[in-house]
Amino acid sequence: MNDTVTPPGRLGIADRAVRKVLGRAVGEALPPGGRVTRTSARVQGRRARTAVGVALRVDGAGSATRAVRAVRDHASARTERLTGLRLTRLRVDVTGLRLPGPVPSVPAQAAAPEEGRPAERQRRSAVRKPHRSWSPRRVPASVLAWSVALASGSVAYGAVQSGPRGGPADTWRPALAHAVVRYGPASTGVAAALLTAALGALLIVLAVTPGHRGRWPASTAPELPATVDRNVIASLVREAVAAAPGVTRVRVRVGRRHVTVRAVLLFGDLPAASRMAERAAERALASCCLCRPPKPRVRVRPDVLWTPSHGRADEGRTPRLTESRGGAA
């Protein structure tokens, strides 16, 4: 190949050749599990502009950034050496990524930092209990912005159209000008004032309150801010309480401070069932990892078929209860 580079001749390297060399060079530097997804090169004289796409697999302690840096350094050096061109640009696009699997590393890594400084961690979590996140109020803000923009835009349009001598006759602008001159605050009416006041109060409430009422801050680790939706809490509590023997028709309402549970007891001891239901609700709430857990309020009321004499659960089958009711009637 070298003998083709005689002084009067010129060696041209096709884009495709550079692409292939680059692809091989990148492949050499990729960590295991990675692959080259695409390469491109454009040769301009003695220089080349190149780009490469890679899919990476990151293992437990690995870093995609480090892998990309290694790929870039190796590929540019190797391609330059093999082709004799200068790479003026080597873009690396990470088009695919695989993060390490959850199995081996979870317990060790979760435990390691806690052991280091437990006191500090505890203090931090005690000091900074996350509050509800503030809703960005997207919909009200955009409705406000659009209505202001439309109103001001139409006013500007009117100002431009009419000019100093008044514009063409259209339907609403002369009517508005007439109304502005004819009517004032005194002739507006109390209903309109009240409506405006209500709208203003609504906007102020939206501005001041945090929103996100249905999302509860929860955390097991301070570096992972999480929220739990209200329906998760409700369904967990409902299932836990319904699992208590004899308890049926469980209704759960999750409020800001309390979780109200209403259930019906078909058979069994009422106080014992209430206690069990309450404990089940507490356990379910604890499993939600809420930062400020609501207090459970459990009310179990006996069914119309329930009789206090059927103390034990094994006696309280539905057919017998039905029978006893039939006997009473």
Partner: protein
């Protein structure tokens, strides 16, 4: 603009317009009552509350040369939030990749989203998830919406998700990664709980 600033600006705008509406409605309510407050100073009206403007005021205003440009300028200023929002929507669509800590190296947002989604879906009790990643100036924000199978407690799901967050952070190391999780219950058909 950071997320906190956006929220603050939006809420201040909402509160200010709410306050404005309240003041106007109070003024109108007083004007309909026995006590008539005067128009604020400099208002182009004679002072009677029966009319918002004097009949001559609009004509007089229009006669001045500066009137249309001022109106158009004010309108453009008032329409600015909408324009900014539209621009932001446009730029958000375009930013399909985020810079890594290496020159000329970028990470496809979609690759990151898919990597996180694959890991989240592999966690026991997770029915599905939606991952949104966005590159901010200082940090990469990954928002994960996880829908849980019925009966799955957050206590079972959050530790693996925290490990995932740690992995993601380590993978993009010089850039700060913040993972935010929202847990929702997957809806299932209502079971009728009646008397046996």
């Amino acid at each position: 603009m950071t997320e906190g600033t956006t929220i603050a600006v939006r809420r201040i705008a909402l509160g200010a317009s709410g306050l404005g509406l309240l003041l106007i409605s109070g003024f109108v309510a007083l004007a309909t009552g026995p006590w008539h407050p005067p128009f604020p100073g400099g208002w182009p009206s004679r002072g009677a509350l029966g009319a918002l403007l004097d009949p001559v005021a609009p004509t007089a205003l229009r006669a001045r040369g500066w009137w249309p440009p001022v109106v158009v300028g004010c309108a453009m200023t008032a329409a600015a939030p909408v324009l900014i929002g539209a621009r932001r929507l446009w730029s958000r669509r375009r930013s399909a990749s985020l810079p890594l800590g290496v020159p000329e190296a970028r990470l496809r947002v979609r690759a990151l989203q898919e990597a996180v989604a694959a890991r989240v879906s592999a966690v026991d009790g997770v029915a599905g998830c939606r991952v949104r990643a966005s590159g901010r100036r200082r940090q990469v924000l990954v928002r994960v919406q996880v829908s849980l199978h019925p009966g799955t407690a957050p206590a079972d799901v959050l530790p693996p998700l925290a490990a995932l967050a740690a992995h993601a952070e380590r993978a993009l190391e010089p850039r700060a990664v913040r993972v935010r999780v929202r847990l929702r219950a997957r809806r299932r058909p209502a079971v009728r709980q009646g008397r046996a």
